[in-house]
Amino acid sequence: MIRCPACGAENLPNSLFCEECGEPLIHEEKLTVKLVSLTEGWKIEMPLEGEVIIGRADPATGFKPHLDLSDKGGIEKGVSRRHLRLFRQGNKVYVEDLGSSNGSFINNRRLLPFSPEPLASGDEVRLGGEVLKIYLEG
């Protein structure tokens, strides 16, 4: 059995809502992603609900990534428009290179394009010449 966090009632495993009080039993905890640039020194925090795309805005197509590195030296460092994305699957976070020109690395290991890998808090992720330290806070 699983216990409802709100009212303490017992429910069958894999129940979606509590039979007693209607509380959702399968919910994704809120997650914040904190990015620290080791090359530029800036820090930024954002909620990770679905996905966070990191890249550069493209005024021609109207594309805007969740984190735009255009004014953070992204062009000089070879960051692509759609460079990398972080996303959640259940309670796990993954990082995926979106076919960037200059590639992405996790802890100095190259990410294959479009091949997501799990990300742990404190991992170092490189986008072209930009190095980010990524922290996950629940």
Binding site: F87, K92, E117
Partner: protein, 484 residues
């Protein structure tokens, strides 16, 4: 078990057998991202991913798809007509557990857009309460609403009008193309007096509808209006409703004001595949009648459903979500869904017993018209496998189960009130208030809180609060959780 396991490829790709190659392609692309072993690392077996590949490889190849369709057809699982039920599972695979676990299946029965089935003419009976309490503006509104319905029918539609108090009177016998002037003058003579014995009204209304002869050729519907409690014939009303449902006649039970029994009207609706509605003020009657009849205009047939459970698997609850949330009661595995036009969602809550890893036939389903001309059938297999976790619950299932969760809280509160469990019922209303608030239903949440406050002393809800909560909690347009 016994039979060789072969997954339903269409179901696995969450498309219907009518899906185009493009739709199959795009479904595959969407799912492959979710089920890629690199993403779902937790999968010790890459089983689901392999199954997805298999489904895609068969369905993308026209020749292999044709052979697969033939195989489905041989099993009676290929839809010959133009509608289908999409099946979504809360999880495609469950872990083997030493205890029972919950599993959810969401059906969306829908007509395929490119295969229109012609709508059928209406066979309609209005059954109007003319007890003393209807006197004055209420009756006037009801008669005005009836006249409007009559004027807006198409030539091929048939209509009857019956009134009831201590007995039933046929004002307009079933006919096509009533003379509007003659009908108006007959309606003007209707008076309100006497008590409320609803079963007479239902019974007389049914007799009119049955005059149509071949009920398969029409959409058969009774619009029943009452403003009060019926006296001692509740069971007879429900029995008649069940009889109606079995003949393809559905009943919309409309309650006006607050002095009627919502549980009775809902039981009538459920037994016949109809709906029950709450109309606070008589001024809304013409609009309500028009909307109900309007919704029937595109209907193709009265539908029923059938579910057969695999060995050891239990159905904890079955709920329909459209047009409003209601519990579906089955008799011998079948249930009435009423006139089918757009689409109907049904959520089945299942309890899975402890099972070792493997594939199990969990559910056979069938939806179709009462005559058996239109039918879609399918089988749902359950996969139990080690190391499956981290699968994302489809947002459509979360949204449906959330609506049902609120519905069930309300249902439990009513049961507790009936059983005199004041404290429990009051607590239940507070739980309900909390969930309503989360759903953004501020007014209903406030109402539930107010009612919870007075319940321990009075032992009941206020008449208006009762109706507003009963019906308000069934029509929530809950937003599905944010897409991720």
């Amino acid at each position: 078990m016994g039979e060789e396991f072969r997954p339903d490829y269409y179901q696995f790709l969450e498309v219907s057998p009518f899906a185009s190659q493009e739709e199959i392609e795009s479904a595959y692309r969407r799912l492959v991202k979710e089920y890629h072993p690199d993403v779902l690392r937790a999968f010790k077996t890459a089983f689901l991913f392999r199954q997805l590949q298999e489904a895609y490889e068969v369905l993308r190849d026209p020749e292999r798809r044709r052979r697969y369709d033939e195989w489905l057809r041989a099993k009676g699982l290929y839809p010959e007509k133009a509608f289908w039920a999409n099946v979504l599972l809360s999880q495609r695979a469950l872990r083997p557990l030493p205890e029972p676990q919950a599993w959810y299946v969401l059906f969306t029965i829908h007509a395929e857009k490119d295969h229109a089935i012609p709508p059928k003419p209406l066979n309609l009976c209005l059954v109007i309460d003319t007890s003393t309490s209807m006197k004055g503006p209420k009756l006037e509104s009801a008669l005005k609403a009836s006249e409007l319905v009559l004027r807006n029918l198409k030539e091929e539609d048939a209509l009857a009008l019956v009134t009831f108090n201590d007995r039933a009177t046929v004002i307009l016998p079933l006919a096509r193309r009533h003379d509007p002037r003659k009908a108006s003058s007959l309606l003007r003579k209707v008076k309100a007096e006497g008590g409320t014995e609803m079963s007479y009204g239902i019974s007389s209304g049914l007799a009119e509808l049955l005059k149509a002869g071949n009920l398969w050729e029409s959409i058969n519907y009774m619009l029943l209006l009452t403003d009060g409690e019926t006296y001692g014939d509740e069971e007879e009303c429900v029995r008649l409703a069940r009889e109606a449902g079995a003949k393809g006649i559905s009943i919309a039970a409309v309650g006006l004001g607050t002095d009627w029994n919502e549980e009775l009207l809902e039981a009538i609706a459920q037994a016949s595949g109809g709906v029950s509605l709450y109309i606070p003020h008589h001024k809304e009657l013409p609009k309500t009648f028009q909307e109900r009849v309007g919704a029937l205009m595109g209907a193709v047939a009265a539908f029923k459903g059938k579910l057969e459970l695999g060995e050891g698997i239990n159905l904890k609850g079955l709920f329909r979500l459209d047009p409003q949330v209601s519990r579906v009661t089955m008799e011998g595995g079948t249930f009435f869904l009423g006139p089918f036009s757009g689409s109907i969602r049904l959520l089945a809550e299942l309890v899975i017993p402890p099972l070792p890893a493997g594939h199990y036939p969990a559910l056979r389903w069938e939806f179709g018209d009462l005559k058996g001309e239109l039918a879609a059938r399918g089988e749902v297999y359950l996969t139990i496998a080690e190391g499956v976790e981290g699968e994302r619950i489809p947002k459509e299932i979360l949204a449906a189960a959330g609506q049902v969760a609120i519905f069930k809280l309300r249902e439990k509160a009513w049961k507790e009130i009936r059983g005199g469990e004041r404290g429990k019922a009051s607590q239940r209303l507070l739980f309900l208030a909390k969930q309503l608030e989360k759903a953004g239903e501020k007014d209903l949440a406030l109402l539930a809180k107010e009612e919870a406050k007075f319940l321990p002393a009075t032992g009941d809800l206020s008449a208006e609060g009762r109706k507003r909560l009963y019906y308000g909690t069934r029509l929530l347009a809950l937003k599905p959780p944010e897409e991720g």
